[in-house]
């Protein structure tokens, strides 16, 4: 496949279609009642990025509070209760309103059917229903913040969560609704991958992005119902005091943690697998070289999904579970490190002897490699029993999960956004400024979170409003880093939005990608392809063809 390089180039000299999915129908109803996966993807994008903004504002407030021991933001005193709400809402919004729904709902919704050569997902109306469930859940969550706010931490541990005042019940109900949005999305993608592949596309001809999203979808349908029932039990405990989690009435608080982490550990793989799926696209495209170890990456994705279900107890090494459970969970946790390592080595080897250019998506992909390395390696400290005792519940854990959730998943999400932006909008963004955002992102992210490893290893617990004087310099450094992150994100928003002012004349295939989405126009027509694409080559085949079309 020869990479197309010039702007305005169209495959095979086809005329650019006048009508595409964006302009074919107009008006509020045509969007609100759409069943087009591309339009639904755009609506999810706007929704989840708004949630990201909200969660990000809470994060900035948290870091501003921690800037000095006086805990004053622009002269206003932040009390301990307010601070507790800041970090709870930051976590809850980011986890449930942003990270879990974002890549599946937005990028995957848009790209997956195109990559499979399909006209839509298996159940387009269910897709729209998923989106509206997200909206309902978001409205409920925001209402709970306005009515009374929650201060339990995003993990809702009992018995504090069953006895504290605040709108815990409404917030958990919101998460319950959001869970169904996630389940239906996963269900839709599984059916789509099984049934709607183009002729000639076997399982091992699919792009690795699809393998990653399929693995994610498996977790979504298997784990989320357990969260659903856990939240129902939590609500019933709060309202009826049924006696399952509250020790004063015969319940077991540690049981809540088992139920909660049984979902929430696989959930973090719902977060990282889509990020890895994006990287599996970016690296071969910008290295102009076939992916190394396709099958290994495919198998690693599925095995990550499955193994993720048997390690939940590593969140509870000092929580009071049995000693045997602790030992078993630690051993299994080391197992889950291996597939991630395999993927990283395969990506690096793909770059070896490649023909590499550093457009914005590739810069984000390279950031991912380094940030994910740090995130994954610090997981080892936490999986190792003797060091975990010291590090758990400290800032070390906070730093670790931000490196994997934000430094990896969000980095990949932003890279994917730049990558598929021309396909989704028909516009090329300003490349130079895009590259600048990537560099600032990398600097800002490390500045914010690298010091937090030190805070943790030196003994600062998490969710802490006060801290020992010796920790202040590191907190200042971290807070300034958060401003740099803010700058980078603001710039990315500006770069992408500015591109919308240009006419929609992006090439079909600006990056020279080999997957099917690049075989149709940018933006695509409503029915995706003018003719049903038939797969004619291996995935990621960059060998020059003997005959040019």
């Amino acid at each position: 496949m020869e990479p197309a390089v010039t702007s305005g180039a169209r495959i095979g000299d086809r005329p650019r279609p006048k009508k595409n999915y964006l302009n074919e129908t107009k008006g509020f109803k045509s969007w609100a009642l759409t069943v087009d996966h591309k339009r639904i993807g755009i609506m999810y994008l706007i929704g989840t990025l708004t949630a990201f903004l909200l969660g990000g504002i809470f994060a900035l407030l948290v870091r501003l509070t921690l800037l000095t021991p006086a805990h004053k933001i622009f002269g206003m005193q932040v009390t301990a209760e307010t601070y507790n709400r800041f970090f709870t809402l930051h976590g809850a919004v980011m986890v449930f309103l942003f990270i879990i729904p974002s890549i599946p709902g937005s990028l995957t919704n848009f790209v997956l059917p195109l990559m499979l050569g399909a006209k839509d997902v298996a159940f387009p109306r269910l897709n729209l229903a998923s989106f509206y469930l997200w909206i309902v859940g978001a409205v409920m969550a925001i209402s709970s913040m306005i009515i009374g706010a929650v201060d339990t931490g995003w993990t809702f541990y009992t018995p504090y969560s069953t006895t504290t005042s605040g709108t815990v019940t409404l917030m958990t109900a919101a998460v319950f609704v959001l869970g169904f949005s996630s389940i239906f999305t996963g269900l839709n993608f599984i059916a789509t991958v099984h049934k709607l592949r183009a002729p000639g596309m076997g399982w091992f001809d699919m792009p690795l992005f699809v393998w990653g999203m399929y693995s994610t979808a498996l977790i979504q349908i298997l784990a989320t119902p357990v969260l659903g029932i856990t939240l129902v039990l939590l609500m019933l405990e709060r309202v009826f005091q049924i006696g399952i989690f509250d020790s004063r009435i015969g319940g077991d608080p540690v049981l809540f943690q088992h139920f909660f982490w049984f979902y929430s550990h696989p959930a973090v793989y719902i977060m990282i697998l889509p990020g890895m799926a994006i990287i599996s696209e970016l690296i071969p495209t910008f290295s102009r070289k076939t992916i190394f170890g396709y099958r290994a990456i495919a198998y690693a994705s599925v095995s990550l999904a499955l193994v993720s279900f048997i390690v939940w107890g590593h969140h509870m090494f000092v929580a009071g579970q049995s000693e045997l459970a602790t030992v078993v969970f630690s051993a299994l946790t080391f197992l889950v490190a291996i597939p991630s390592g395999v993927k990283v080595f395969n990506w690096l080897t793909t770059m070896y002897q490649g023909n590499i250019s550093l457009e914005t998506p590739m810069l984000y992909a390279i950031s991912f490699l380094m940030l994910f390395a740090i995130g994954g390696l610090t997981g080892i400290f936490l999986g190792t029993l003797s060091t975990d005792v010291h590090l758990t519940d400290t800032y070390f854990v906070v730093a670790h999960f931000h490196y994997v959730m934000m430094g990896s998943t969000v980095t990949a999400f932003i890279g994917g956004l730049y990558y598929w932006w021309p396909k989704m909008t028909g516009r090329m963004y300003n490349e130079r400024w895009g590259q600048v955002t990537a560099v600032i992102w990398f600097i800002g992210f490390n500045a914010t979170f690298l010091p937090q490893f030190i805070l943790g290893s030196r003994g600062m617990p998490r969710r802490y409003y006060n801290y020992l004087d010796q920790f202040q310099p590191l907190h200042v450094f971290s807070t300034v880093g958060s401003w740099i992150i803010g700058l980078s994100l603001f710039m990315t928003a500006a770069v992408l939005l500015a591109s919308l002012r240009k006419p929609a004349d992006a090439p079909d295939n600006p990056w020279g990608g080999t997957t099917l989405e690049w075989q149709t126009s940018s933006p695509p027509i409503t029915h995706n392809f003018e003719e049903q694409p038939v797969l004619e080559h291996e995935p990621y085949d960059y060998r020059p063809k003997a005959v040019t079309h």
Partner: protein
């Protein structure tokens, strides 16, 4: 390279801390090496193999030997690290039989400790050096966690159950401890100091609550009065979680202007808040309840040493 460990870790309060630090630093250097093995190619390859128009890349789809090596290699490494971690953890998990047992009751937002002889203290605990000590812990309300960074130990504290940690402190002096499981509003205020004493000082502490208070009562330092000791006690022992000193009503009456005033009780009578009243309030708080407040104050009988009671009386008197 010791400065790196000193910068990253808290002071080492025990031999166990030294062992954990060794594991930590080994993992640290391993991570540094592995990180560079990933970061260097990430940055080098884009430069070495930078884009050249027309260049054709080799079609490398897989290499079985290499892939097996980098699957099995890390697996072996992980197994090794797992066992190393398990080894240290097993030492942490089982307290030796001769350890002195201190029982801990955590509640929002303070720590209550009780020694084998029945004497009790709040937030401020002393232990003898070089002797193993075991903390048997429960909570009165929500989850808490007892974390002593210098000893590298922590464990959750669960209502309705008993959990345990132990260590053998080897370094004299003050070591901080904190609550490490989010427990509500003043979670980050729920801390205290663990002081490791030699045998003589420890014995003194068990008898009179230590020597720190003495300077406040011997008149040698004009900046250290009994009222100052009372203020320290007010904060340390947790009076401040229910009583303010500026007049604002909290769970309990404010101490401002109380001493020598007439106090109205919930049974309609009024009493003079003299020294006897103040002392009775500390030791038998249920005897007289101030009007407009609930009878929720626990007794501090056995929890306040005579010097602490004297200091508090002096402090309250000073708050006119």
């Amino acid at each position: 390279m010791d400065w790196l460990r000193v910068w990253m870790m808290p002071p080492q309060g025990s031999e166990f801390a030294k062992e954990i630090d060794f594991v930590y630093m080994a993992l640290f250097w391993l991570s540094v090496v592995l990180f560079f093995m990933i970061a260097v190619p990430s940055v080098y390859f884009p430069w070495r193999y930078r884009f050249k128009r027309g260049r054709v890349t080799p079609h490398q789809t897989h290499n079985t030997t290499l892939e097996v090596l980098w699957t099995v290699g890390p697996l072996v490494l992980c197994v090794g690290i797992f066992f190393w971690g398990l080894n240290g953890w097993m030492k942490y998990a089982v307290a030796p039989g001769e350890a002195m047992e201190i029982s801990v009751t955590a509640k929002q937002w303070l720590w209550q400790f009780e020694y084998p002889d029945g004497s009790r203290t709040i937030n401020d605990i002393h232990v003898p050096v070089n002797k193993p000590v075991k903390f048997t812990m429960t909570s009165e309300d929500v989850l808490h966690d007892f974390y002593v960074p210098d000893m590298r130990v922590k464990h959750d504290i669960i209502p309705g159950r008993y959990t345990q940690i132990w260590f053998t402190p080897t370094v004299l002096g003050k070591h901080n401890f904190t609550c490490a499981e989010y427990c509500g509003k003043d979670h980050s205020g729920m801390k205290g100091f663990l002081t490791v004493d030699n045998d003589a000082d420890f014995a003194k502490w068990m008898e009179t609550g230590g020597t720190e208070w003495e300077d406040y009562f011997n008149g040698k330092d004009p900046t250290k009065t009994p009222a100052d000791w009372g203020k320290i006690t007010y904060e340390r022992v947790g009076c401040n979680s229910c009583h303010t000193t500026d007049g604002t009503k909290s769970k309990g009456p404010s101490w401002k202007g109380v001493y020598g005033s007439m106090v109205e009780l919930n049974n309609g009578t009024s009493v003079l808040a003299d020294e006897a009243y103040i002392r009775e309030s500390m030791l038998s708080p249920q005897a007289k309840i101030v009007k407009g407040f609930d009878p929720i104050m626990p007794t501090f009988q056995g929890l306040l040493k005579p010097n602490q009671q004297n200091g508090l009386v002096a402090y309250i008197e000073s708050l006119k």
